[in-house]
């Protein structure tokens, strides 16, 4: 099972589902929706947090939060 936390910089994937309900509500509001394409944009100097491109902008989150977003390579 691959999550956003497993992506390498520049790697693309599609959001499939979330494994944490509360956090998923926040991510959905931020436009991180199932089926949406995400690209890992940066990893902060100490390896955490990470930044993704989603829905046309850049969103930063902690690695443990990124690990709750399951992604797949194609829809």
């Amino acid at each position: 099972m691959k999550t956003i936390a497993d992506l390498k910089i520049g790697e693309r994937a599609f959001v499939k589902e979330f494994c944490q309900e509360d956090l998923s509500l926040k991510l959905l509001e931020m436009g991180c929706l199932p089926g949406e394409e995400v690209i890992l944009e940066f990893v902060a100097p100490l390896g955490d947090p990470v930044g993704i491109q989603v829905n046309g902008y850049c969103l930063a989150m902690r690695k443990e939060e990124a690990a709750t977003v399951i992604v797949e390579e194609s829809i």
Binding site: K26, L28, L33
Partner: protein, 707 residues
Amino acid sequence: MKKNPIIAIVGNPNIGKSSLFNQLTGLRQKVGNFPSVTVEKKSGPWMLDDATEAVVVDLPGLYSLYPKALDERVVIDILANPQHQDYPDVVVVVVDASNLKRNMLLFTQVADLGLPVVLALNMLDVARDKNLQVNAVKLAMKLGVPVVRINARVGEGIDNLKQAVLQTLKTPLAQREKYYFNPADQFPELIEEVKYTNSLSNNYLALHYVQQHDIFSFVPVEQRVAFDQMIEKYGFKESGFQAAETMHRYAVIDSLVKDSVKTLAEFLVKPLWTRRLDKVLLHPFWGYAVFLSVLLVIFQAVFTFASYPMDLIDAGISSLNDWLKERLPESALSDLVTDGLVAGIGGVVIFIPQIAFLFFLVSLLEESGYMARVMVIMDKLMRKFGLNGRSVVPLISGVACAVPAIMSARSIGNRKERLLTILVTPLMSCSARLPIYTVLIALVVPSTAVLGFFTLQGLTLMGLYLLGLLSALLSAWAIKGKVESAETGYFVMEMPTYQIPRWYHVGIAVWDSVKSFVTEAGKIIVAISIILWVLATYGPGDAISKAEETVQQEQPTLRGPAFDNAVAAYKLEHSYAGHFGKFIEPAISPLGYDWKIGIALLASFAAREVFVGTMSTIYSIGSEADEDNNTIKARMRAEVNPKTGSPMYTPALAFSLLVFYVFAMMCMSTIATVKRETHGWKWPLIQLAYMTVLAYGLAFLTYQVLQ
């Protein structure tokens, strides 16, 4: 149409909402609180036409009407309650044109509540940098509401916005028939029942009663049970339904904006400049190097640049005092004016340059979008100490003043990380400590140049700030195991596009903070200065009135100014303040302090900034009007230790005082703020205790080692 309609500004964070507010209200804006909650409320007048002066209210930035942070709650609390004094007649929803889809989520929610809305399309320049073109006319036709193109930073499109708002105010609002999202599609009976029992007419408002009645201040507690029963009766799942709502809205938004947004060339998620800057500012080495240099510049600026206007103010106040002393008739009242009132006001005014500089630099960082990068590169480090990347803002703002800094910790979603941030923020050296640092450093540290442009004094000052920062981090680390919290919060944060700060908006931020300092802190400082003057001038018994006789008997050889000074010293010693200081002298003498410093310590318990003012009041009593070195610094330098006969302010004493003030929690406003933010006395008292122990212990150590 109302004479004073209320216009609310609503929108996502970082999209120029406050800039628009500044453009509409300028310097006429007021900062206050929303009733019954401690959320900062900015409002101000806006002339719509000759007969209509609207009240514009800037609501906290948020991504959706379901609040995540504490501050955001106030938005739904107002928009869902027509009886609220700030309930708007028109809502201006400001959206970021470069990120239209995500911004439209909030718009569709506000519109579904049945409020009259105007859409303000901002940041079109950023959209162009991302190769996007937004067609406002098409969007307006799709949405059926006025859409106005604005540039909030420079003030373009304000007249059109005014026309759109006026137009909307004149148009009677039709009952909403079509919802972007209609909860009655899935739960018709539940929505009907809520509408019926609460006399509502709007389906989406009814849904918010179901979902958020617990945080509505206007719903009585006993009524909340009824909602919970309804939720159970209809098998309604709160989180699942909220997720479904968000996804439904995004699907609708997709079709709404599809025709209005055109990609001109290759779409860029980040404009070129933002991408280039991020390469450097998020770099493993350069990122931290830049951040450290920024901090260094801040401190050097505050010490070096601010010292020029401060010296001028100090000299100006003392020559004003001399001038007054020469002209006013000799009486107790004149003394109160010169030594009490003018000295006290001087103690307030002298802070203004430093506060202005700090707020200027901090708001530059926020306005430019750099602060978000700092949070990202600092998060992992801060977490090691139990804090959060977002703690950086409270900690840096703590350098200006702990009160707004502690309030800004609300943006930290995680309860434990927020509490830790609140507990350690007062260890950051606030601007009230700066004058104490400045005066004491100038007394005992030479201004030798180091590495060309730094001075030894500047470096000592930076050392004190670092000491504060270090102890804040270590204290957080020490306390973190003792704070229990099951609740988790999120770091999830948008990385805004970099923008060149506009002087106008930075200027208003500086003006606001200086104004609130002068009015809020100024009142306390002036009051305490006057009280102190009274306590230092009068005393129990007849010791004071017989001072001259007593001194003459004890030291019959004294003549002229030396005699006057001896009398003044005798009077101070036998005044109420003198007795007070003497009383606590045994407790503070291990730190190297005498009773005069004791008076200042006690006075500064209300607010640290009083310390310097008190010192100047104490040392000015008995000083001569014609002395040419009448500044606080000069008076302190001239002070002699009666036991040794050498200068009172030795390096050991000065550093002991400096260390004491780095750690001491001497600020009533901070204690009151912590109580308010943590809902009880437990945490402010714990904080007061641990900081006092640190202050006393470390000042003792410093004095004993250096002596």
